[in-house]
Subunit: 264 residues, 2 copies
């Protein structure tokens, strides 16, 4: 007997989260729907952070920015509530992690500006669709991520190194990986480096700064993409009085389909 498993859509995943029934990472959930990193900052830092994102579109591609005090992302997920619809949040004060919480209802302020930043899940699906295997996909394990010697273009008080994610790609699939991810600039787009990790300041691909190490397969090349951890690293380095983010891997699932954010 054939059992058809219908994948939940973005709205359904958010409904489970809001009801307190889903507190785990969102990788592999609602396949085909765009997921987003969250960064929330007070209004007096919002212009500078928006400018930082505009100047660094590879690590910080903006999906949506909400007006001060607003918590409904009307463009990417009408009806959603940014304060309750992510499985887990982190609250940083002066650059230090001060709490991990299940919702933001008691932390909300009228001067908070929410930034939704593209997440690599969308382009990873494009890689999978092109026959490129990703061993961490759909597990609760994360890809390898590294701080690089590539300096982001500063804006106001925000500055810092670009963080990248690394995936092992079979040599004969590298060109296809560039093509497949180039279609999705809103979720980091094309790689920023192919090959020798030392050239971008990565000393040991087996010792990632974030996520976990993955062994190389035979004939595989390390390929590096700008990573959505960059804004957190940069914002943490600038020590804003308050910054709220998603907990790693616990993303905001939008109503946008991957093809909605494709460039071409």
């Amino acid at each position: 007997m054939l059992q058809t498993k219908v994948a939940p859509i973005g709205r359904e995943v958010r409904g489970l989260v809001r009801a307190g029934k889903l507190r785990h990472p969102t990788s592999g959930l609602a396949p085909g729907y765009v997921q987003a990193n969250l960064a929330i900052l007070p209004r007096d830092l919002a212009f500078e952070f928006l400018l930082f994102c505009q100047r660094n579109p590879k690590p910080c591609p903006l999906i949506e920015v909400l007006e001060p005090g607003q918590f409904e992302p009307k463009m990417s997920a009408p009806g959603a509530d940014i304060r309750t619809d992510l499985p887990k949040y982190r609250i940083y004060r002066n650059g230090e992690l001060s709490a991990e919480v299940d919702d933001l209802l008691e932390f909300w302020r009228e001067d908070l500006v929410s930034f939704l930043i593209g997440c690599s899940f969308t382009f990873e699906k494009a890689l999978l669709d092109n026959g490129i295997e990703l061993p961490h996909w759909g597990t609760d394990k994360n890809v390898s991520m590294f701080k690089t010697n590539i300096v982001c273009t500063p804006a106001g008080r925000f500055k810092g190194p670009m963080v990248v994610s690394m995936r092992w790609i079979p040599r004969n699939k590298v060109v296809r990986a560039v093509q497949a991810t180039s279609r999705f600039p809103a979720v980091h787009g094309a790689p920023i480096h192919i090959g020798d990790p030392a050239e971008i300041g990565v000393k040991d691909v087996n010792k990632p700064d974030y996520g976990q190490a993955w062994p190389a397969g035979s004939g595989e090349v390390p390929v590096f993409w700008a990573c959505g951890v960059t804004p957190q690293a940069v914002a943490a380095a600038s020590k804003p009085s308050l910054m709220i983010t998603h907990a790693p891997g616990h993303m905001f699932v939008t109503d946008l389909k991957d093809e909605d954010v494709a460039a071409l």
Copy 2:
């Protein structure tokens, strides 16, 4: 005897402007170099206008945004001075044109934020390269532009209709026109409408709201692109205390080559 005419590069055009030797429109100058619309607003409106551009990337694609008080576009034209390197400027107070001037030296303030917004000259070159004729190209005459019934996504105090430019494209070149301009999202990118003008609220293609009318050739289709006049129309509607722009057609010529802003 063959005489080779070397086209001036961006920096040379700006040098002529700064020396007061060039006060005419910049269409056709420094071919292959990206030109930009200019909008300058006080700091207290800058976040909302930046957000407006982020939400409306087709009419308002950002090439560069400068920090408050800064007048050197370090990313797109190092060494340039936004206050002196455009042939002509317009100063609007409370939404009304108050002056047209040759430079901004006596108007400059420490709280002014400069926005450089992509201009259609780059994608027009792509159309020409693909064998599509544009009768206004390189003349001091302008393309036809229209206010539409398409409402821009508002941000803070900024809201208003999308302005579009229209070009007659031979029926058998319409697909190529979409492909050629899709490569350049930083300069308005793909068309927003093909065919019946009434569908986007344009009553008479022979009576443009800006620029001038151009007669249709045999077998030609009207094709509409989002237009860099939109931010001026929108900002004028919101009546900011001060807004400074380039004078129509008198653009800022950057050091970026067209291919530098190509998506793929």
